[in-house]
């Protein structure tokens, strides 16, 4: 193991002890590897023990992620109120942002789910998804308030077909 480590040493460490020099010149001397210093162990230890020891922290972190979208809703509501219902560039940008963020989050939901661990991970994942959906819902509501949704009959008027004529009446003043 020690030999292996020695070989793994950095390439720019000059090994004067090596028998075979790369340029083929003779080595100066040959010696046994030095004993390791006291208290040094080459083996590494995983700190899994320490992690297992702090499950509350994981839970807390996961809840943070899960509740993130929900926490944004009051902020969004405030922005919504501030932006007003007129259709101009600024409110439209706001609405756009309100749409884009939760939708992006929903698209990247797999990665986020990986980050959520712990005992309540199912609930947290659901909460996260619901939070984002609520964000989308809020944006839709904003569109509705602004009158951007085709929910009225008038929005479909252009597609209404003319009524079919079933009877034909002709005539006028007698000749």
């Amino acid at each position: 193991m020690s030999i292996k480590t020695a070989q793994k040493r950095h390439k720019w460490a000059l090994d004067y002890t090596s028998k075979h020099r790369p340029d083929g010149s003779k080595q100066l001397f040959q010696s046994e590897p030095l004993p390791e210093p006291l208290g040094f162990s080459i083996t590494t230890f995983s700190d899994s023990g320490a992690r297992d020891n702090n499950p509350d922290l994981i839970e807390k972190k996961s809840w943070d992620i899960a509740l993130g979208p929900l926490k944004q809703i009051p902020m969004n509501l405030f922005i919504m109120w501030m932006a007003g219902n007129s259709i101009s560039i600024f409110p439209i940008m706001m609405v756009g942002m309100m749409f884009i963020r939760p939708i992006q989050a929903l698209l990247a939901i797999q990665q986020t789910f990986k980050m959520i661990e712990g005992a309540n991970k199912t609930i947290q994942r659901i909460v996260y998804a619901l939070g984002n959906l609520a964000g989308v819902g809020l944006a839709v509501y904003k569109c509705q308030v602004m009158g951007l949704l085709p929910t009225h009959a008038s929005d479909w008027l252009a597609f209404v077909e003319p009524q079919k004529q079933l009877e034909w009446a002709n005539g006028g003043i007698g000749l």
Partner: protein
């Protein structure tokens, strides 16, 4: 607050007009519009020879126009349009020196015009004149004008226009004074007392009565035709026996009868015999008696005796004219159905032919027979005398023929009495037709490939030819506004040898170029080129007479097949009444060439029953032909072409016909059913009685069949939809009446009736209002104008019908399960002006907003957006209404000068506006017709579907190309820079 309101309204108005403004640049005038001016059918024709302004022909016409026509080119020198209707009807016209004197409406208006400038010299009115009693004028010497009206003779000084004297005639209630003549220094006024006697009054030139006597004449009727010959003899025709009665005015005690023995006269014919005065007062006392169709007898009168001079069996028109000391008779007749008019000259008294006046002159067959001749002789340079002959044709045309054998100019006055108009698409070019032909055939692939290859090759070939042609000669066809009438005439001259460029009469890119098929009162049908107004073809149907409907003549014109169905030929059909028998007659023709259709007889299809109604179905048979269904007085239906009976039977369950009887005021609806013999017969389903005792039906207006309604509703401010009530069979019936209690108070009603079930949808009455009313019915709205007697102003009312916020049946409209009664919104506006015709624009798909076109009595044609004539215009403009785009209510409608679509090209007596869709959705084609014609294009929503003329193609494309080039170069540079950086 008020001022604030006002300023808001004002700003809004400005905004509004900015959006809808539609005027021309000066250089655009006449590029896509044209105007043609006419005078109408000449009743009185007088020559004014020589002078500074050359030969002038003064005409007084049936259309109440006095005009001077330039003898050289046929153009109108000046024109005065008198009052419309009976109050402007010209009773007599005389020319003396430089003055033209007219009497209209029985002497209500006596006018004297300057013959050179056309300006009104003086004007007068005779008290007690009756429009129903025609006045007559005689001019004595160079200054005295005597006018005979209902009960008096009034003399004027022609220079000053002052009344010299007035003499009341006795017993004018019983005696109808109609004839006036000067003889030396005595003026004779002759009156007829029905079945009793003739009153002769002679008056001296100073206005004192000389004698007054009566001559017994039991045979005389007040509608007898009489003439005073040379101021000495009264010649009358006894209608019943056909005997000429002659009386010497100076000393005759009895009428001397003359039996036209050697002439076979068919006295059963109502219109004969007629009298026709020939020549001027100085010519021998010879009168022509028209005893039959193209048959005349010349009668000479001397000392109270008459003798037959000559019998002219085959003469269309005749005229006496003087040449030196000699008096010549000029007769004209067409040589059997050819383009040649044979003019013969002979000595009036001896009858010996005068060869230098005998000519064969080209006179196109579409003028019919000449009805009157006005010949003049002019000295030519070589000493011989040249004849110029003005003919008034059966088709109302005025043609000046010259001795050289051809027409110097032609005026198609039939176009002043247009009755029906249709605009027909031109056919696609032959190549395009071939391309279209490719579809729908089941050839194999190789054949199809070869066909496609050959058509495209020929397309390339024609393109190359066109290019060559275009390079060689710059295009001749320019817009009509600048085309002068002379050009029109000269074009006409050469219309036989000119083969119109084959590609000219093909559909253009946007289908803006059309053939306007017009049917006119005398029975002449024209195909006008919509670009220039020049007639491409004209056909005269001599037997085609008009129907009469309330106050106007009617000829029905149907486009049975359009040009869209190649290889089937387009077909137009005109339906009228035979002039002789009074039975219906139908002519079918090709609208592009004017030639008779192959399928129909060229001499017309005569229908041997009395016609009540004729309609064209919207359905097509397998040959893409719309059948015409004619209902006769026995409620039987006849289908033309007859092969389409099965089609009609197939549709009969959904076909309904309604007729309106003016006399009884009853509207009756019929269903089409089969009787036992499998004949189509009308089954009365409903009647609506409008109560004839109180009011009379004056108009029945249906919607136009080809109208498309794109939007089914309007959007309200709360974003809900107000659905339109679009009953395709809704008819608007207008009735006018007088209030029973107060005599001077008129009223009228508008009824909206479902044409299938007779269901009264809506009804409203306007009190203290009267006509003339123009009514327009389109989509879900009705607009009409009327005279408000109380406020003394012209008003325009609008009705709009809505189903409400829900549509009871979104897919189909059936009158048997109708939607709930519609919501009717209405509003009236004050209209600044008098309207003679009303129409709305029509476009291909109905997307473009509508524009209303008003022909004004002042000569303008005003186009106002429908937005202004909206019943929903609010009095107080709320925020919501503003968002909806409503205009605040103002009682007066504006009349901005830039909305006059004919700018300074005034048109008069317009009685109809025809609109037709073009291939472009934004554009509607408009023809205003009446005395004048005006054609233009209107774009109610501006040209939203075409790039503007001033669109900078060069700039835009250069910027575009520049941007592409720059982006390519910068990309290269960026790549190089990145590489360089990597090397560092």
């Amino acid at each position: 607050m008020n001022t604030l309101d006002f300023s808001i309204i004002f700003q809004f108005a400005i905004l509004l007009f900015d959006r809808n403004i539609q005027c021309l640049y000066e250089d655009q005038a006449g590029t896509f519009d044209w105007r043609q001016q006419y005078v109408g059918r000449a009743q009185f024709v007088e020559y004014i020879q020589g002078g500074q302004s050359g030969t002038r022909i003064i005409v007084g016409t049936e259309q109440n126009v006095v005009a001077a026509i330039n003898g050289k080119n046929g153009q109108i020198g000046w024109r005065q349009v008198l009052e419309k209707g009976p109050s402007g009807h010209i009773n007599d016209l005389k020319v003396s020196g430089n003055y033209v004197v007219t009497a209209s409406a029985g002497g209500e208006h006596i006018r004297c015009f300057n013959a050179i400038s056309g300006s009104l010299h003086w004007e007068s009115s005779i008290p007690g004149a009756l429009p129903s009693h025609p006045a007559s004028i005689q001019i004595h010497g160079s200054d005295l004008v005597a006018v005979l009206s209902y009960d008096r003779i009034v003399a004027y000084n022609i220079e000053a226009g002052n009344e010299l004297w007035s003499l009341a005639l006795t017993d004018s209630t019983k005696v109808k004074y109609s004839y006036l003549a000067f003889s030396e220094e005595v003026l004779y006024a002759v009156g007829i007392s029905d079945r009793s006697h003739v009153s002769l009054n002679s008056v001296r030139l100073d206005g004192t009565e000389k004698t007054s006597r009566s001559v017994a004449a039991v045979w005389i009727a007040s509608d007898n035709k009489c003439s005073i010959l040379k101021g000495s003899h009264l010649v009358c025709v006894d209608k019943n026996s056909g005997i000429l009665q002659i009386l010497s005015l100076a000393n005759g005690v009895n009428f001397a009868p003359l039996v036209l023995q050697d002439v076979k006269v068919d006295y059963n014919k109502v219109s004969f015999p007629n009298l026709q005065l020939l020549g001027d007062p100085h010519s021998p006392a010879v009168i022509a008696v028209e005893v039959g169709d193209q048959e005349y007898v010349l009668v000479a009168v001397e000392n109270g005796k008459a003798r037959v001079v000559k019998h002219l069996p085959k003469v269309a028109a005749l005229q006496v004219m003087g040449m030196g000391e000699q008096w010549l008779l000029l007769t004209a007749r067409r040589s059997d159905n050819t383009d040649v008019l044979n003019v013969f000259g002979s000595d009036l008294l001896t009858g010996s032919p005068v060869h230098e006046l005998s000519h064969s002159i080209k006179y196109p067959i579409h003028h019919g027979n000449p009805q009157r001749l006005y010949g003049t002789l002019s000295k030519l340079r070589d000493g011989s005398s040249g004849l110029s002959l003005l003919t008034c044709g059966e088709d109302h045309s005025l043609v000046l023929l010259t001795h050289s054998g051809k027409a110097l100019w032609t005026r198609e006055e039939a176009l002043a009495s247009i009755l029906s108009v249709e605009m027909v698409d031109l056919p696609v070019s032959q190549i395009m037709a071939k391309m279209e032909d490719e579809f729908g055939t089941n050839d194999n692939i190789l054949q199809m490939f070869l066909k496609r290859f050959s058509t495209q090759l020929s397309q390339l070939w024609t393109f190359a030819l066109q290019l060559k042609h275009r390079l060689r000669i710059p295009r001749q066809h320019h817009a009509g506004g600048s085309i002068s009438e002379t050009e029109r005439m000269s074009e006409e001259d050469s219309d036989d040898d000119e083969g119109l460029d084959e590609t000219y009469l093909t559909r253009d890119e946007f289908n803006l170029h059309k053939i306007i098929v017009v049917v006119t009162g005398p029975g002449k049908v024209f195909g006008l080129d919509s670009n220039t107004g020049v007639s491409i073809w004209k056909t005269f149907y001599p037997s085609l007479g008009t129907f009469h409907r309330i106050d106007r003549d009617v000829l029905l014109l149907f486009v049975q097949r359009t040009t869209a169905h190649f290889p089937h030929q387009p077909v137009c059909t005109v339906l009228g009444k035979d002039k002789v028998s009074g039975l219906p007659i139908m002519f079918s023709f090709h609208p592009i060439t004017g030639l008779p259709s192959e399928s129909a007889p060229s001499e017309g299809r005569r229908l041997n029953y009395k016609i009540v109604n004729a309609v064209m179905l919207t359905q097509m048979d397998e040959h893409f032909l719309h059948p015409i269904v004619v209902m006769d007085s026995e409620k039987k239906f006849h289908v033309y072409p007859q092969s389409d009976v099965d089609l009609v039977k197939q549709f009969s369950a959904s076909l309904f016909v309604f007729t309106t009887n003016i006399e009884t005021g009853i509207i009756t609806g019929y269903g089409v059913e089969l009787d036992k013999k499998q004949q189509l017969i009308g089954n009365p389903l409903w009647t609506v009685d409008t109560n004839r005792n109180l009011q009379a039906i004056t108009k029945v207006v249906t919607k136009r069949a080809l109208e498309h309604v794109h939007s089914q509703g309007i959007v309200l401010e709360d974003r809900s939809v107000q659905y339109k009530y679009l009953n395709p069979n809704l008819i608007a019936v207008l009735t006018e009446g007088e209030e029973a209690q107060q005599k001077a108070s008129a009223f009228f009603s508008v009824y909206l009736i479902d044409g299938v079930t007779g269901n009264l949808v809506f009804h409203c009455t306007h009190k203290k209002s009267k006509g003339p009313i123009q009514l327009m019915h389109s989509e879900n709205w009705i607009v009409y104008n009327y005279w408000n007697q109380k406020q003394r102003r012209m008003e325009l009312a609008v009705l709009e019908l809505y189903e409400g916020t829900r549509q009871s049946n979104a897919t189909a409209f059936t009158s048997f399960h109708p939607p709930p009664p519609p919501i009717v919104m209405r509003q009236a506006y004050i209209f600044p002006g008098h309207i003679s015709a009303l129409a709305t624009t029509i476009t291909e798909k109905g997307i473009t907003s509508k524009q209303l076109l008003f022909a004004l009595e002042t000569g303008g044609v005003l186009g106002l957006p429908k937005l202004l004539i909206d019943p929903r215009r609010p009095e107080v403009l709320s925020q919501e209404a503003r968002e909806e785009g409503l205009v605040p209510y103002l009682p007066e409608l504006p009349r901005p000068a830039d909305h006059i679509i004919n700018y300074h090209q005034s048109v008069f007596n317009i009685h109809g506006i025809h609109t037709a869709p073009a291939g472009l959705e934004s554009t509607s084609l408009v023809l205003c017709y009446g005395l004048d014609l005006f054609y233009t294009r209107v774009m109610p929503s501006k040209m939203f579907d075409v790039l503007k003329e001033d669109f900078d193609y060069f700039f835009i494309s250069s910027v575009l190309i520049g941007m592409i080039v720059v982006s390519v170069i910068t990309q290269r540079l960026a790549v190089r820079k990145a590489l360089n950086r990597a090397w560092k």
